[in-house]
Symmetry: C2
Subunit: 165 residues, 2 copies
């Protein structure tokens, strides 16, 4: 069976922080989940751990934190729904609009037109679904300095108790 005990969204955020810290490159970037409600997720990371050669934020860190925001949005929602699905990034488009001299703050939401009920129904029915996410990196004044559009694959792996296909 693929059903886990559903957890509250706060518990999902705490579980996400533990997952983030368990990944060496993510722990090195100092990424932590600072807010989320199931429809959006905010991650933050200190600039000092993410500097490039020009004294502003490394583009690879922006890519990493925005990708993680999308991945974490999906991971938290699936946990809150009690679904034991894996979340893989499939592809993404990134635009770097301005250098960032502040701490990193990325927010992810579903892409326009994407809706959780439909995605979850598809996932429960076929054990696989695609999820389109949009993430933004904001500076301290709230201006967008980088954007990511990404698609994730949600996959419920077979478990020992499942009937053979």
């Amino acid at each position: 069976m693929s059903q886990l005990q559903p957890v509250s969204r706060d518990e999902a955020l705490l579980a996400l922080d533990a997952l983030l810290n368990a990944m060496p490159p993510v722990a090195a970037m100092g990424v932590r989940a600072s807010a989320g409600d199931g429809d959006f997720l905010r991650l933050q990371a200190p600039l000092a751990k993410n500097l490039n050669d020009k004294g502003c934020a490394f583009g690879g860190s922006l890519a990493g934190v925005m990708t993680l925001a999308g991945w974490g949005l999906a991971t938290c929602r699936l946990q809150a729904e009690g679904l034991a699905a894996e979340v893989y990034v499939a592809d993404s488009q990134l635009r770097y609009l301005a250098p960032l001299y502040d701490d990193l703050l990325a927010e992810a939401r579903l892409a326009d037109g994407e809706r959780w009920p439909e995605v979850l129904a598809r996932l429960r029915q076929r054990r696989r679904a695609r999820l389109s996410v949009r993430a933004l990196t904001l500076d301290r004044r709230g201006a967008v300095v980088a954007e990511l559009d990404a698609r994730f694959a949600l996959i419920i792996p077979p478990s020992p108790g499942d009937a053979p296909p």
Copy 2:
């Protein structure tokens, strides 16, 4: 003036390694330049420093190493040409094709149809140019597990000795 003393390509690779190590998130990923000839650049990083929650390479690290490969390709070539230009990533498209359970190995080359002489002529003339790069991540058998197409902005900053515009 924007002309620096031209350096050999080996010196440019060593200088690149120093630049990579000076960036905290890049040093944390253990990225180093392992080969390059001015038309391609190969970067490597150990899997252990770039693990995700599934025991394979973190997508953000793949994005970071491929972006750095493109950035480094441009940086090395500009140094070899004696051009003191800054290199900024402007946008990128990433495709994640398969999980990677090996050390990270990324190779960057100019995109199809892009040629250094034209890019360098544009940069020398206008002090700004765009550069399109393609980077691949390969597994230990040489299969492509992730792809990046990126555009970089090359910019020669004004220097104190320049005449005012």
